[in-house]
Subunit: 256 residues, 2 copies
């Protein structure tokens, strides 16, 4: 059965996303902020875990012009959208550096390797996991539910897999809700260190709506709580200049 | 042997602290920020864990004029300074609401009760624990070392004791370094919920130097990451207006 879709511009038209229309998780600012956690001069091999239609991974490929990106997605339907994104003419300048792998990142051991995720085969992993706790929200739409509902311990599974596939001194970036901070920190223990946390606030005087955490494989350094990203200035519904830069691939979140 | 001391004004002269001169942990902004985590209208019984000469507890008594405060300090030498602070004429308007208890807050069970810390006997606990990890810094001064060196698991011990002495729906406030965030969150599990975290930055564009965490006994609500407190505005070494208000007992940290 054909699924209705849209083709949306990101990074001011530098790349495009083919994604289901009104069904499933629709990519936006979260994916752009996650991609912005990767250093601008990154030139290695990056895995986008739970890539969906490929927004975050394509955003890395768009900004870091020496990077090679693998979009890892469990759902064949969403992976098909990722393939259609790569085949779209507007992404022709990126397509040779980006590929799609249909695999469940929650697999472990030999099953994960057999699925195409070999140990220490990446320099970076990024993830925008389904981060609404199961009891938080009811979503009638099954595709959306798969993308939004984080099962208990799924942060642990995803970060364990990231630790397996990322080489020592390679990087990890995660975007999540603040409520998931502890689960993420707990999952990093013994795997990733030197964690840097950026709280994201809609406005300077309201609580954070997201956290972005970056960490280094096999580092033992402690946590840094970075200055927050404020999306909107007081009395203004437009993005702040800094949020606009990040949303459009003009800046990295950590100024590197 | 007599110990040299100083008598320092806080809250613009509303209370004074008698403390050792150059030895031990000298109270300052940390204690004032911790005290500011208590709601302005707080009128119950509060325990200041590891009170030292009494800075944070006296700051609560100074700002919350219906509060009753117990300064809990293990070191007889520091507890003696707390007693001298209470006896100082400049604190006469507070002294009938403040008392000193020489006790180790790391005690558990019957030993803790026997030391004077009965179960559910407080409405609030605040703590400024010794928060430099043992390997971080060498301090030749033994008194200073006792105050600054956090032993492994001491957050767990202190927060376990706080959970015992604070009544259900009572409060907890902790000030610590950002590196201790995970240890604190882990210690709260099953004891305190509805945690609110305020990062404290020296300047808007530098990493946080402190975190202040407030939580509610027996609550099951999730974590909130609050807007940060910025101590200094760009290009200015003076305290920001908000930091100055908090430092001087004019405002609460959580605007309540």
């Amino acid at each position: 059965m054909p699924v209705a879709f849209t083709i949306d511009a990101f990074h001011r038209g530098n790349f495009w996303l083919v994604q289901p229309d009104g069904k499933g998780h629709r990519a936006g600012m979260d994916a752009m902020m996650l991609a912005a956690a990767v250093p601008s001069n990154f030139s290695g091999r990056l895995a986008d875990f739970g890539a969906g239609a490929g927004a975050a991974g394509l955003a890395v490929a768009s900004r870091c012009d020496q990077s090679k990106v693998v979009l890892v997605e469990r759902s064949p339907e969403m992976a098909d959208f990722a393939e259609r994104s790569l085949a779209y003419s507007g992404n022709a300048h990126l397509a040779d550096r980006v590929s799609v792998l249909v695999a469940d990142v929650a697999l472990s051991g030999r099953e994960r390797v057999a699925a195409g995720l070999a140990d220490s085969s990446f320099d970076y992993a990024i993830m925008n996991p389904p981060f609404n706790a199961r009891h938080d929200r009811k979503t009638p739409d099954t595709l959306k539910q798969q993308a939004h509902v984080m099962e208990d311990g799924l942060f642990g599974q995803w970060i364990r897999s990231a630790a397996a596939v990322v080489r020592p001194r390679g990087g990890l970036a995660v975007i999540a809700r603040p409520q998931s901070l502890q689960a993420i920190l707990d999952a990093l223990v013994g795997r990733f260190g030197n964690a840097e946390v950026v709280p994201v606030h809609a406005r300077a005087d309201t609580a954070a709506i997201r956290i972005i955490i970056r960490a280094v494989r096999a580092s033992r350094a402690g946590l840094t709580l970075c200055p927050p990203l404020i999306l909107h200035e007081a009395g203004n519904d437009l993005f702040s200049p800094r949020a606009d830069e990040i949303n459009n691939g003009r800046a990295s979140l950590f100024a590197d």
